[in-house]
Point group: C2
Chain length 275, copies 2
C-alpha cells in the first residue's frame, strides 16, 4: 500500500509536485470517479460515440489508437473536444518498448501524433533505463509545446496469464520511476509499489506515484487469450488509484448503466480506503 493511499484524492492533489498527477486527482474528485474506460473499439465514430456517452462517468479514457481502421485528424480533434466537454484525460496505452532513439520518434512527431493529444503514455522498461530517460528528455525539451500536461506511467506489472513483468522487472520499474519522477507519474500495476526498497532506490516520505490497475471486470474472470480479471473492490484495496475496465463496460447490454455501476463501486471502494 502506498504511504499516500489512505489520503483523499483532494489531499493528494494539493500536495503533489507533478502537474499531471494533480490534474488526475482533481478530475477524480470533481467527477467522483476513478474509472478509466479502455475504449477498444475499432472505428473513429465508435470511439467518439463511446467517449461522448460514457465521458461524464470516467476520469480517463484509455486508447489503443492504432487499432482504429480509420485514424485521422478527425479522430484527434474529436477526442480532444470530448476530453474538454466531459473533463477527462486521455491515456494512450502504447506500451513503448524500444531503444531511446526510436521511442522519441514514436512518441513525438510520428504517424499517430501521440504527444499532441495523449496526456498520459506508458512504457515497458524491458529495454533498460534508456527508454525512460529518452521519453523524459523529449517532454522536457524546449520545443516540446505540450507543457506540464503530459506524463508517463511505467508498465510495472501485467494482468495477463504467465506475465513476466514480475520480480527484478518490477523493481527496475520502481527504480526508474523514482529516478525520472518529473515525468513519471506512476505505474500500471496490480498494486501499490511504494514499499519496494532496492539496491538502486528507496521510497522517500513524499513519494506519491499514481497506480492504474488493468483487467477490472465485475462479471467475468478472464478471456480465452490469457487476460485475467479482478473486481473494483479488490483492485482498490490493493492500491489502485484508477481502475481500468474495458469489455466489462462497452460490451455490456447497457454500457451507460455499466459504467455507472463501475463508477459507484470504484468510488465506494475508494471511500472505504480513505476513511
Amino acid at each position: 500500500m502506498s504511504s499516500k493511499s489512505h489520503l483523499t484524492y483532494g489531499a493528494r492533489a494539493s500536495n503533489h509536485p507533478n502537474a499531471l498527477a494533480r490534474k488526475l486527482f482533481q478530475v477524480a474528485e470533481a467527477k467522483k470517479s476513478n474509472v478509466t474506460i479502455s475504449a477498444d473499439v475499432t472505428t473513429t465514430q465508435e470511439l467518439l460515440d463511446l467517449c461522448d456517452q460514457l465521458g461524464p462517468h470516467v476520469a480517463v479514457v484509455k486508447t489503443h489508437i492504432d487499432i482504429l481502421s480509420d485514424f485521422s485528424e478527425k479522430t484527434i480533434a474529436g477526442l480532444q473536444a470530448l476530453a474538454v466537454k466531459h473533463n477527462f484525460l486521455i491515456f494512450e496505452d502504447r506500451k513503448f518498448i524500444d531503444i531511446g532513439n526510436t521511442v522519441q520518434k514514436q512518441y513525438h512527431g510520428g504517424a499517430l501524433r501521440i504527444s499532441e493529444w495523449a496526456h498520459i503514455i506508458n512504457c515497458s522498461v524491458l529495454p533498460g533505463e534508456g527508454i525512460v530517460e529518452a521519453l523524459a528528455q523529449t517532454a522536457a525539451a524546449r520545443d516540446f509545446t505540450y507543457g506540464p500536461d503530459r506524463g508517463l506511467l511505467i508498465l510495472a506489472e501485467m494482468t495477463s496469464k504467465g506475465s513476466l513483468a514480475t520480480g527484478p522487472y518490477t523493481v527496475s520499474s520502481v527504480d526508474y520511476a523514482r529516478k525520472y519522477k518529473e515525468f513519471v507519474v506512476g505505474f500500471v500495476s496490480t498494486r501499490a509499489l511504494s514499499e519496494i526498497d532496492s539496491s538502486a532506490s528507496s521510497p522517500s516520505p513524499e513519494e506519491d506515484f499514481v497506480v492504474f490497475t488493468t483487467g477490472v471486470n465485475l462479471s467475468s474472470k478472464g478471456d480465452k487469450l490469457g487476460q485475467q480479471y479482478q473486481t473494483p473492490q479488490s483492485a482498490i484495496a490493493r492500491g489502485a488509484d484508477f481502475i481500468i475496465a474495458g469489455r466489462g463496460i462497452y460490451t455490456a447490454p447497457d454500457p451507460l448503466d455499466a459504467v455507472q455501476r463501475y463508477q459507484r463501486e470504484g468510488w465506494e471502494a475508494y471511500l472505504a480506503r480513505v476513511q
Copy 2:
C-alpha cells in the same frame, strides 16, 4: 550456436518447413546479403528513396512505420513495389506487447495495416503466452488472406544498456517459439538460442530458428541513450543469420558505399561460419 548455423542458407532453405523462413534464406542466397537495414527515417519520401538506393544490397528492410510523419497509402504501395523490384522482405519492428485481444487488432485491420505489407513482425513475451498464441491465431484464420508469407520473430534479447530481456524472459521466448513454430520463424537476439533446454521445452534435432541481431555498427560503440553496438563478424560468429544495421549505414557520408561494406563483411563472416 544453432545446430543449423554451420549449414548454408541454401541448405537451410531446402529443408525448412516454414515458407517465410525458406524465402528469407533464398533471398539471402540470391543477393549474397544477410543485411537488414533499419530504415529509421521519418518521411515516406526518405523511406522510399532509402529502400530504392540500398534495396539491391539488403535481404530485409526493417521499419518503424509509426515514426513516419506522413504515413499513408502511398507509403504502403511504395514499400511493396520496392520490395518486389529489389527482392527484399519487409520487417515491421512493432514489438507487440499487449494482451492477445489487443495485439490481434493492432496487427490486423488497424491504422497502420501491418498485416497487409509486413512479411515479418515481432513481439515481446512480457505479457505471457497469450500474445504469441493470439498472433498465431490471427495468421492461421481462414479469412487471413496473406497466406504463408508472414511470420513472427520473438524479441528474446535486446542490445540496449540494462536490458531486462534476459534469464527466464529469454527462456520463455524459446519455449513459446517452439510451441508456436508454425508462425514463429525465429528470434531477435544477440546469439543463437537453440541450446536452451527448459522445463517446458527442449531443442528438437530439426529445430532451425532464424536469428536476427540488432545493434550492428562498424564504426560506433553506442549512442547517448543506451544503445550498444557490435560488428557484423562478432554478431554472426555468435549465431546471427541476419544482421540489423541502421545509423551505421543511413547516416554514413555515402550510404551506398556503407551498405556494400556491411554486405561484404556480413557475407564473409557467414562464409567463414559455414566452411
